[in-house]
Subunit: 143 residues, 2 copies
DNA sequence: AATGCAAATGCAAATCGTTTGCAATAAAAA
DNA sequence: TTTTTATTGCAAACGATTTGCATTTGCATT
């Protein structure tokens, strides 16, 4: 995996290696998704991108998200209701707890659950390609 | 809970009790969703409904699904990609394994996973309102 | 059974998130 | 630099779902 001067993964090099052209919009979008720690949707990414280059189009954001998804750079989530939301891949796998009141997304990971999922699939005669575990909850109001 | 002559839940009575009018389209749609054991989408329900009443509209199907969902009669699922799919509620809670090749939906239930979810949410200071666990897999091809 | 009225319907048009065709532009190969 | 080819921005198309509105219907009331 290619690293850059700061020791982080160099996505541009990774993509170039895969024969993908590094264009101005792609460089900007890539920066946005790799620097944020939230789960923005395409329009939000577009909004942030426009601040850096006034004539980036929403189509390009969508096209780039699909490209990066196929390339494994980002992950797409389809939380209940709304549009797809994205996050930079590469960290360890985790699932999400969505605060139904604020829309906040909290990440968590349970190895036990992950393992149980595999067991279940195996018993049913399947191999899991991916899965989705989303908890929708409300902050507990202590009595 | 109101039961009818056959001992099953009488949805029409339940709805009427809640001040909801039992119309011809609603009666038909209700029959369809309570008799099927698959997970049809709105258009499929519409298709089946039209066989019984040639001038039911897709709008009414959508409106009725929302109504029944709010009333707790059915559950809505948003599996990856496609449109919302519905199933009759009332049976015990279960989660789904989706065959990515055929679109088939297999139901399963793991008390262990359910319990672990509660623990996780509690640790994070949340109460779970509902959750979604979907496994996307492919039939294991035995060597 | 006939009446009255709010609720529900069908239809067409609107909306939302997303994708696509196409001519213009820019990346990278030569 | 020139050439080749991928990528862009824009507008129009898209699929799923919702909505406005005039008409019909369920059903509580006579
Ligand atoms: Mn995340
Ligand atoms: Mn089910
Ligand atoms: Zn997981
Ligand atoms: Zn569950």
């Amino acid at each position: 995996m290619t690293k850059n001067a700061t020791g982080r993964v160099d996505h541009e090099a990774e993509l170039r290696k895969a024969g993908i052209r590094i264009t101005r919009p792609r460089r900007i979008i890539l920066r946005i998704v790799s620097e944020t720690d939230d789960h923005p949707d395409a329009y939000e990414i577009f909004r942030r991108a426009v601040q850096e280059d006034k004539n980036i189009s929403l189509s390009t954001v969508y096209r780039t998200m699909k490209l990066l998804e196929e390339h494994g750079t980002i992950q797409r989530h389809a939380f209940a209701g709304g549009p797809s939301r994205f996050e930079h891949a590469g960290e360890e796998h985790h699932d999400h707890l969505i605060d139904v009141e604020t829309g906040d997304v909290i990440e968590f990971r349970s190895d036990k659950i992950e393992k149980l999922q595999d067991e279940i699939a195996r018993e049913l005669g399947y191999d899991i390609l991916h899965h989705k575990l989303e908890l929708y909850g409300r902050k507990r109001r202590s009595a």
